[in-house]
Every structure is written in C-alpha cells, then in structure tokens.
C-alpha cells in the first residue's frame, strides 16, 4: 500500500515538475515564437500568450466602450480573429503590433456598425462609469482620470490607450492605427494636455 501511494505521489510530483519546467520554458520564449508554436499546433503556447496579453487587451476594449458587455463581446471577437489568423502571422513583425492591429480594426468595425445615435458620447461614457461602491474606495483623482479618458475624442483615446496599455512605440502605434508618426504624436499631445487640464481643474 505504501509503495503504491509512494509511486502515485512520485508520479504527481514528476508531472508537476514537468509542468513547472515547461511553464518556465514558455515564460522565456518571446511572443513571436509562442505564436509560431501555436500556429504549428502547440495549444500550450497560446495559453502562455493569452496569459501575457489578456488584461491589457481587455482594458483597451473596456476603456474604449465603457460597457462591460460590449467590451466582453469585442474582447472575445478579437481573440477569435487572432486564433483564425494564426497562420498569417509573420514572425518578422512584433506580435503586439499584429495583435493590437487586429483589435483596433475590430473596434473600428464595431464603431462603424453603430448608428449615429448609438455612437459613444463623452457624456454617456462619463455617466456609465465604474461601480459607485468601488468609487468610494478609489480616490477622486483616479475617478477624474477615468472620466477624462472616456471623454476624449475616439482617435485620441484610442492612441492614448494603445500607448498606456500596450506600451507600443509611436511608430508601432502608427502602424496599428494606419496613420503617420506625427499624427500619433499630435493625438497624444492633445490627449495628455486635455487630461492635465481636467485633473488640475
């Protein structure tokens, strides 16, 4: 009996060790290689990739639309597009740029589908803020910042969130959004100045 339990326990321990070792190995691998591995059929590579980018991408969507249900739909739709387009990924381009480009296009499609009366209005976005119970805990500055981001024009908000959430460089943001570098810089400058003023006021 003892020998059997020992054998089972050792098997579990060995399995855990292999998993930990594989996870450590995966953590060391770059996004691009993980995506390549996933495209070749390694599902665990996608797990690692998803764990790395799930929160920033979700925040990118929820702070664009400020509606959890819509954000969930957009978030799931964007990942499905990434899964479908796995074979078209080229390792020469950074994975983040490729992924956020898909997400950005998905978001633009969503805004285009909306009728003019359904379009995101700064006032409504400000009103549909976070949970009031949470607001009590958060300080006033955070609330003001959230409201300020939501009230930004779509292009400036999009550019700012790409910068804050993904940490992409200006050139990379330009590639994601399909505009020039100077346009990205200009949008960022306007957004930062606007938020500065709103926070100071």
């Amino acid at each position: 009996m003892y020998a059997k339990e020992l054998l089972v326990n050792s098997q579990h321990a060995l399995g855990d060790l292999i998993r930990i070792g594989y996870a450590a190995f995966m953590r060391e691998i770059s996004d691009e290689k993980l995506m390549q591995r996933y495209a070749k059929g390694d599902a665990r590579a996608f797990d690692q990739l998803y764990a790395r980018h799930r929160a920033p991408l979700y925040r990118y969507f929820i702070r664009q639309v400020n509606n959890p249900a819509t954000a969930n739909d957009l978030y799931q739709g964007a990942w499905e597009k990434i899964i479908k387009a796995r074979h078209s990924f080229k390792p020469k381009a950074p994975f983040k740029v490729w992924m956020y480009r898909i997400a950005h296009n998905h978001l633009v499609d969503h805004f285009r589908r909306l009728r003019p009366e359904d379009s995101v209005e700064p006032d409504t976005l400000t009103n549909t803020g976070p949970d009031p119970s949470k607001g009590a805990i958060e300080n006033e500055q955070n609330e003001l910042l959230r409201a300020g981001i939501s009230s930004l024009p779509v292009d400036q908000r999009n550019t700012l969130l790409l910068k804050l959430e993904s940490g992409l460089k200006m050139e990379e943001i330009a590639r994601v959004t399909g505009v020039g570098r100077e346009t990205v810089k200009s949008r960022l400058r306007y957004a930062v100045n606007y938020l500065k003023r709103s926070l100071v006021e």
Binding site: Y38, G41, D42, A43, F46, D47, Y50, R54, A55, Y58, R59, I62, N72, Y75, Q76, W79, E80, I83, K84, R86, P130, K134, E138, N139, Q141, N142, L145, R146, L160, K163, L164, K185, L188, R189, V192, N193, L195, K196, L199
Partner: protein, 276 residues
Amino acid sequence: MNSVHNNGENDKSLDEGMKKLDQAYTQLSDEQPPELLDQAILNRAHRAVENKPHWMQFGWLHGLTTTAVVVLAISLFLNQREQLPDFENDIQMSEPGRLRLENADKKQSPVMRASEQDMELKEERGKRLDANQAAPVATEPQSAAVEITIDEQAEEAVTDPLNSGYATKIPQTKPDSIDKDLSGNEPVLEEQLLGDTALADDVAEREVISKQAEPATVTIGLTGEIDNLAETDAEIEQQLQEIILLKQSGDEAWKIALERFKENHPGYPLPKELSD
C-alpha cells in the same frame, strides 16, 4: 532653429506628461476579463489547433498524390506528342498507299487465307486420289502432260508454293482427263491430242493462273513477311502429297522434287512412302 528647438521642447513636455499620466493610470482599478470568458477563448483556441482538417493530417499523402497526378499528366502529354506525327503521316499518305491499306484491311487475315486454301487443297487432293484409284490406266498417258507441268512448276511450288499456282494446276488437268476416261474416250487419243494442244493449253492455263495469282501478290505486297510465314504444315504436307503422287505415278521427277523439298525443309519428317 526655433522650430527644432520647439519640437524638442514639445517632445520633452510630452514625455514628462506621459510619465505622470502613466503613473496615475497604473493606480486605476485593474479590470480583468471574466473567468468564463477566459475559459471560452482558451477552449476555442485549443479546438482550433486540435481539430485539424483531414487533409492536413495526411500532408505527405496529399503531396504524394499531387506529384503522382503531375507525373501522370506529363507522361500522357508526352505520349500524345509522340503519337501525333504518325497520325499526320496517315493523313498525308498518298492515295494509292491508302487504297492499298484499305484493300489489305478488307482482305482476310493470312491465317484465314491459309486455312481456306488448305480446305481447297484437301478437296482437290481428295478428288485426285479418287481419280487415281478409279482410272489407274489413265496415269500412263498423262505422264507426258504431268511431266511438263512438274518440270517447270515443281520449282515454283517448292520456292513459292502460294504464288506459283501449282497447287491448283494439277487438279484442273486431271479431272478433265478422268472425265474423258470415264466418258469412254481412249487414253491414246487424249495423249495424241495432248501432244500438240496440251502444251498450248498448259501455257495458257499457266498464264491464267499467274494472272489470278498476281492480284494476290500485289495486295499482299505490304504483308509479304506474313505471307512467307503462311507456309503452314498443311501446305508442306500438301507438297509431300504431290511428291508421293508423282512417285506413285512412276515419274522419276519425284526424286528431284524430294531433294528440293529436303533442301527447303531440312529435318522435316518424311512420310513412309518417301522415306524408303
């Protein structure tokens, strides 16, 4: 200079502003996607990889099949190209050549022809044997006529039995004489008649036979090789029968004919009548 200076200042201010904004932004509540959504997306991703299309599971087979089809197509194409010039030649063939080919097609195959000739020869041989048995006396007077025909035609028969017409010559002369014998005419009279007329008749008859044989040689010209092969055992046996008949008729020419036969068919088993 001023614009460059201004740009540098703008960049600095933007960088400072972004740093402050980034610090403030990190203090915002960290929203996370729902766990159910995470699970749904991960399941979708796993299914997409696990459910490979059937043809992708046998990628090597797909490649092999494609290669085989390409090779087959190329070989068919090359084969068609090789056959094309022959077809053109057939079209451009001269009128006489085409007619000859058509005649050759219309004619029976060499084997069929040989079998028909064999049947005819058998019938004639049967008639001749009956005639020999029925009128043994008539053999004597006929010897002169037979001698003439055999001297000249035995050679043709041995060298080219099909085209010589020799096979059909003897039965045409013998039944006439037999009929005369049976009808009561004296054989001596026939011998006398034959003395002058037989030679003339014989020459005329040979001309007729050669004329009959000519079309065969013309039409068979294209298939000459096959005709040579058409000398079947039946024909050789027929030649032997001719020699036996000569021997039975008491003509010494049978020895010459036999020698020629042996030269042309060395090792061919001879019947008892000739092997003695």
